[in-house]
Every structure is written in structure tokens, then in C-alpha cells.
Amino acid sequence: MPTTLKDQAAIVGIGETEYSKNSGRSELSLASEACRAAIKDAGLTPADIDGMTTFTMDTSDEIEVARAVGVGDLTFYSRTPHGGGAAIGVMHQAVMAVATGSAKAVLVYRALNGRSGARYSEGVSGGPTTSDLIHWSWYMPSGLMTPASWVAMVTQRYMHETGCTSRDLAEVCLAQREHAVKNPRAFFYQKPLTLEEHQAARAIVEPLRLYDCCQETDGGSACVVVSPEMARDLPNPPAMIRSVAQAAGAHQESMTSFYRPTLTDLPEVDLVARQCWEMSGLGPEDIDAAVIYDAFSSIVLWQLESYGFCKKGQAADFIRDGALRLDGRLPTNTHGGQLSEAYVHGMNGVNEGVRLIRGTSSSQPAKNEHVLVTAGVGVPTSGMILGQI
């Protein structure tokens, strides 16, 4: 039994549906198509899959997808909570399953009709009385009930403490849009964005403007995780998982951790980062490109700080001269991210991480030894480092 998850598993196949604003079909249909594509890309058959994992928020049961895709017996299945925080949590599950022999090939998926179906921008509201609903009940009466509003609350304080401005946030959006313009899968393919347009766009929840907020997308993404031994015999270059970790922090609420001594602290992101570096033996200086979870532009800055690419409070300075762009220090969200490609709860980012390692991104940096991929912010979260086999 391994005592570390370092180099215990690799991503060998990726797949996705088209990303649209109205898929015209069920989430199960999207999940099935993404899964089938991932299995095919891995060079496997559905019968090779014996493990499946997804988000608690996914509406498509593992066994429903399994029947649709033609997967037979399963010896591992699990779910990870906390929305986008689960994006690498599901990878953590898959790696643990492979490392412990609970499964040989784990299919990881997420599919949603995020625009034509239930939209997160519509906010939380009633439902069964769970501890989760009691939590939201502290915010629904005053109208603080959308992801943009919760993130804006922390963003306002962050800007106050660091001097970061809306124009600094814009650099995240502009760098990513520059990538999306070259990515045919992206909603903003061939649609550039200027600083003036970013600044002139309407405010959604001040201080966040329209382009600081991610897409709402219909679509699905999936990938296949197997052991390094199995990976070596498969057709596509595998992305080795150097480290993978989850964390919840002290005084954690889901999106509304407003009662921490320092409102802008993200101990859960710090803790994921620490585990990623310790497990892999790597540091920020070893990372050539990154896929940084970007439901909103500001959360990219905070993660750059938590992962140690710059000091706390200095992310705006770090990115100001183009660090996130293709020729910058840390080419980031080279697919356009969730701001400009699609919002698939971070799973489209996992696929981009694999493309970066393979050297097949539409904005491919010259160096691709190691790639960081992260998950949702403001919630219990997760992250991983991918490397060459």
C-alpha cells in the first residue's frame, strides 16, 4: 500500500461535449457523451472502466451514466461536495481508488445545463430544511444569495486592504480572453476583449463587473484515471499526477466565511497548496503553466498568493506586466478559463491541464514540465500538480 499519492496515477483520456447556452438535451446525455469521448481518447473500451466519480451537485447518477456508456461492473464510486471546490476533489478520489487498488480505471465526469437549466446566478432559495438551507437562511432575507454577491463581499475587502483595483482584475480577464480567442471550443472564440470594454461593462455586484464573472454553460467534461503502468501502454501521452489534495479550513462556511478573524484569509487554499508542494517535492518556481479556478477574476489573484507565486496581497503587481499571458511567467487558463471558455465547474480545466502536458493546447507554452490545476474558492477546495510521465 502506498503512503503517498505522488505518481500513483495518471490521466490518460479526456473528453467533452460542445459548450453552449442551450444544449437542448438532458444532463445525462451530456455526461454520457463526455464520458464516451474520454474513454475513446484513452484508447480504452467501456468495459475497462471499473470506477466512477463525480460531484454531489451532478444530477446524473454513476449507474445511469454507466448503463448509457456501456460500463459494466463497478468496484468504486463516490461523490465530492462543495460545488467547484470538488473539481480536483474528484481527481483525489480517483487517484486514491487507483492507488489502493479499489479500481483500475476511474471515469471522472461533470455535466450540467448551467445556462438553460438551473442557473447559479439565480441564487439560493427554499428547499428541504437541511443544515445547508439553515446556512443560506442567514443571507437570503437580505438578498445576498448569488455566487457573485458572496465573492464580491470578499473582493471588496481584498481591494481595500491591498489597493488592487478593478483594472487589476481586468488583467485576469484580458489575459484569459487572449487565450480564448484562439480556442474553438470557447464561447469567446475570436472575440477579443479590451480594457475599455471591461471597464464599461455593467456591474453585476459591485465591485465585480460583467466580465469578472464566469460563463453559464451547458456542457460536460470527463477524464479517465489509471495507474502509471497501465498508462504507459495507452496511445496518448499521459499526464502524471505528481500530487493531489483536498482541504477545508477553520471557520469554513460554503462561500460565506465572513466570520474569520481576517475576512480575506483562505486557509483551505493555503492548506491544499502546502500539501501539493510537500507531496510533489516541487515549488512554485517549478510550475510552467497553470489552470487556476476562475468563477470570478478576483479569486485567481488570491490563489496566486496562496500557492506562493507571489506574496500575500501582491498578486496585482505579479500579473500587471502580463505574467498570465502566453509569454508571461505563468501562462494561466490557456483555454480561456471559465471566464471565457466555459463554466463546467472546473472539469474543463482538468482537461486543459492534460492538454498542456501533452503539448496540444490552443495556447501552448514552450515549457510544459509541470502544470498546476486548482478548484473552487470560498468553499472546501482541492488542487493537483500534473507532470510528464
Binding site: S116, E206, Y259
Partner: protein, 324 residues
């Protein structure tokens, strides 16, 4: 439910054939550009520019003669009262396109915007005609009105010498009209109820707190073991694990720790822009609620505020803050 799959594919293929098409009809002005129509327009619009209506002033202007207001451009080719009838020329490709949308469930139509450009001022006696091209049909969009497609047309205006004098683009949305609920809920009095704010869910761990609010108090839970104050309430103290607790009442005095100004989406029952703040209460805990009676631009971090408990809709009481 909007059409999907192969039906949608066939439909969109059919639409493609219309992109770039001239609609097949030329609009010819019923009257030459003339002083009477210009005067009526200027009166209706409240435009008193002398160059349009006063021959003497116009003669001294840069134009040297009477000219028509540029924004009147489209008026010269409009069809008059007859436009309101349903009858249309069977050769009209634009109407034909709209009928295809109607037949596929996209029967709603709304004009969304227009842009115009004027090449020269029109003079009295000019004869205006126009041709219209279907420039673009968007991909399917999910809009606030429903699922639909935007149609862009471009109309080019020419004079008696076949010289372009201006153009206008027009964008309409053809959309599937959303199903409307049969009957809105009504209060017992029979009067339609106005939208109310979202209610908190009540259960063992928070109901007492809302009961305090109903009595006009902003309560803070206090651990009986270590006397630590905590908010939001929970059944056990994270410091000493005591399950015994009581509560104190806050003075409601505090300072803004952070805040947001919510503009989108607008949820029924709330008034926008809506200010919500995390407030440091003087007792040491934080509380999240609205800041009211303040210009959103005047709210700032560190601002002193005072809570009062008040009705925020017909029934619900909530502690809200005002500048202190």
C-alpha cells in the same frame, strides 16, 4: 420547450438560406422630401432648429436652404397606416422568414436596437428609396424573454441619382413566448399579493434567533461554558464544546467591515441597487444585512452604522443598518 435535435438542425439550415438575402422589395418614398412633413415632424419632436423650418434662417445657415432633420431618414419611406394591416406582399422575404420562425414556435417578436448613419442632409425635393438586406441571424440564444434568435437587417437609402444618403440597421429578437402560470397566487382578501422577500428556513438551531427579531432584538448566542459569543448560532461551542448556551442582545452599533452593491439579477421582493454589508458589531461578532437609506456610492469600509429591526416587506422583520 424549444425544438431540439434534428428538428432544430433542419430549422437552422433553413434559416441559413436567408442570410445575405435582399428582402425582394424596394421601399419608395410616397412623397418627396417636403417642408410640410418636416414641419410636422419638428413640432412633434419639439425640434426648433431654424434650418429645418425657417427658410430665411436656413438660407443663412451652412446649408443655404431648408434641409430635413437627419433622424427623419426612415420616415420618408414608411408605408403609412397600411403598415398596421396583416396583409403583406408575398414576395417579402423578411415576412417569409418571420413566418418560418412563427411555425417553429418562435412567435414572439421584439425590436432590440437600431443604428443609423447619415451621409448627407436631405433637401426639399429629394426622392428617397431604400432596399433592405437580411444581414445576420444569430445562433440560438437564451434571453430574459425566452429562447430565440436575433435577426439583423440593414436598410440602405438612396436618392434620385442612386447615391447613398444613409443606412440603418435593425435588430429584432424572434423568441418562444414563455408559458405563463394560469393564475397568480392571491392573498385571502383576494387582492394580488406583492412579491415578498425569501424567508429563512426555521429549525431548532436558529428559530429562537428569529423569534428574538420578531420581538425587536438582534440576539447574539453566548456559550454558557466559556462565555464566548458566536454568530451564526450553532448547537455546540467550538471553543469548549459546551452545548449549554443563552444569548445577549446587541446594541446594534457597528462598523462596515465589507459590503457589496447588488445590481443583477433583480429578485422580486427586493429593491435594487441593494446594499449588503458584513458589519463588525461592537460586541465582537459580525452580522450580515442590508444598509438602507444611503446612496450606494456613499457606503465605505469603516463606516459607523446602527441596526434597527424593521419590516422589510409585508410580514418579515429583519435587523437592517443605517449610517450612524
Amino acid at each position: 420547450m424549444a425544438i431540439s435535435g434534428s428538428e432544430r438542425e433542419a430549422f437552422e439550415k433553413q434559416l441559413e438560406a436567408y442570410v445575405g438575402l435582399d428582402i425582394g422589395l424596394e421601399d419608395i418614398g410616397k412623397d418627396r422630401v417636403n417642408a410640410a412633413m418636416v414641419r410636422h415632424w419638428c413640432e412633434a419632436m419639439g425640434d426648433s432648429c431654424g434650418a429645418y423650418t425657417d427658410p430665411a434662417l436656413a438660407a443663412e445657415s451652412v446649408h443655404g436652404e431648408l434641409v430635413a432633420p437627419p433622424t427623419m431618414l426612415q420616415a420618408w419611406i414608411l408605408g403609412g397606416v397600411g403598415m398596421a394591416s396583416d396583409e403583406s406582399d408575398p414576395r417579402d422575404k423578411q415576412k417569409e422568414l418571420h413566418r418560418i420562425f412563427d411555425a417553429h414556435g418562435f412567435s414572439g417578436v421584439v425590436a432590440t436596437n437600431t443604428e443609423q448613419e447619415y451621409t448627407r442632409y436631405l433637401k426639399m425635393g429629394d426622392e428617397i428609396r431604400a432596399r433592405t438586406v437580411i444581414e445576420e441571424i444569430s445562433e440560438q440564444k437564451a434571453t430574459g424573454l425566452g429562447i430565440g434568435y436575433f435577426i439583423n437587417t440593414r436598410t440602405t437609402f438612396r436618392d434620385q441619382n442612386d447615391t447613398e444618403v444613409g443606412w440603418l440597421t435593425f435588430r429584432v429578437l424572434k423568441f418562444e413566448i414563455a408559458e405563463v402560470p394560469v393564475a397568480a397566487e392571491t392573498a385571502e382578501t383576494g387582492a394580488p399579493s406583492r412579491p415578498q422577500r425569501l424567508r429563512p428556513a426555521m429549525a431548532h438551531d436558529n428559530q429562537w434567533w428569529w423569534e428574538c427579531v420578531d420581538k425587536g432584538e438582534l440576539a447574539i448566542q453566548r456559550c454558557s461554558g466559556c462565555e464566548a459569543l458566536r454568530h451564526p448560532p450553532r448547537p455546540m461551542c467550538g471553543e469548549c464544546q459546551s452545548s449549554e448556551w443563552d444569548f445577549v442582545f446587541s446594541t446594534g452599533q457597528g462598523t462596515v467591515h465589507s459590503y457589496v452593491v447588488i445590481r443583477h439579477p433583480e429578485v422580486p421582493g427586493y429593491t435594487y441597487p441593494l446594499v449588503v454589508a458584513v458589519v463588525d458589531l461592537e460586541e465582537g461578532t459580525r452580522f450580515v444585512s442590508n444598509v438602507v437609506d444611503v446612496d450606494p456610492g456613499d457606503v465605505e469600509i469603516g463606516m459607523a452604522v446602527q441596526a434597527t429591526i424593521e419590516l422589510v416587506d409585508d410580514e418579515m422583520k429583519l435587523p437592517v443598518f443605517r449610517p450612524a
